[in-house]
Symmetry: C2
Subunit: 203 residues, 2 copies
Amino acid sequence: MPRIGRKEQILEKASQLFRSKGYHGTTIRDISEASGILSGSLYAHIDSKEDLLFEITDRGADLFLKSLRPIVDGDEDPVTKLRQAMVAHVRVIADNLEAATVFFHEWKALTRERRACIQVKRDEYEDLWGRLLDEGEQKGSFHLEDEKFARLLILSAMNGLYQWYNPQGAQSPEEVAERFAAILLAGLDSGKGGDSGDGGRTP
Amino acid sequence: MPRIGRKEQILEKASQLFRSKGYHGTTIRDISEASGILSGSLYAHIDSKEDLLFEITDRGADLFLKSLRPIVDGDEDPVTKLRQAMVAHVRVIADNLEAATVFFHEWKALTRERRACIQVKRDEYEDLWGRLLDEGEQKGSFHLEDEKFARLLILSAMNGLYQWYNPQGAQSPEEVAERFAAILLAGLDSGKGGDSGDGGRTP
DNA sequence: CCTACCGATCGGTAGG
DNA sequence: CCTACCGATCGGTAGG
């Protein structure tokens, strides 16, 4: 008889294993062993190995979306929003290192339909960032030479986090996010020239 | 009888497959089929599947090292060196998209000894970047609040390239690299002010 | 480089 | 959740 909370436990073990060995490098027997049951018994909780990968990546996608949407839809000024968005993104990664790593690294191992489902959410997430940057541009809060390039650079820089962030280390997610924000905001905004939004820091 | 150049052809097919399906998701039969021979025949050219992964990642590591070392050891001023290093890094990725992707994504699938060998080269590469940043700091060319953070941000931002760069697209590696350099140099250096560290931006 | 093959392991199932 | 098992496929080999 399945214990309650067992499914969550299995998902956590699977996340850890997918992270360290990859989806295809992890066997059903690895997961069942880590969960303290035999491989056949795993199928009382799941229908297939891919189910596990899908649940992990889909939840990951939802975490990113849920944390960013209220910020983009909010009423703060664009620079504040951008800073908040970076903090939110870093938090999701730092607080869910395993799931985030699997989300970034293994989602392409999904078969067609489920991969498409995750792709939709990834596109949604990038669109939210696009709207955020567009708004700042239109309101004159900052000036980007190339919005898409800026978006990709921001996300790439922050996504690298999952490869080196140590939750036991000295830096809190907020500290890390503030550093990202300080560097990226200054860098992205340096090419501007403006009547608005910069306060004359540019020479 | 093995054709000449056959090994290179196999390595290229393996790179493409490892990139799209992952190392563990690619079978010996996938590789042999793509190479136009039967699976057993592959072993006239290689000793094991892992050999292919090792050769690809090891060559990738050497490409990065070979392109960065002369720059770090050169005589240019630190800002120029930093810019050149970014161009070099972007070039290696843009000119070797498959190998670079496999290098970033799959090297952990190597078994212990070979993974350690790649790890050494990765450390070497990061050290070269560290030396480059240290030199700029010491000579007062730029001022970083946290050198390690700066290094990780630079490399993360640029490494994201392999996920979105399109060789058939409009942007040349040089253009991309110059954009990175412009944004990152401005951002990383924004905290400076004349003689020390922050220049009064701090309240 | 092909033919023919092998032991091991894979994801998954039936019945309890 | 266990026992017992299965067909398919895996990386790799022997002999030519």
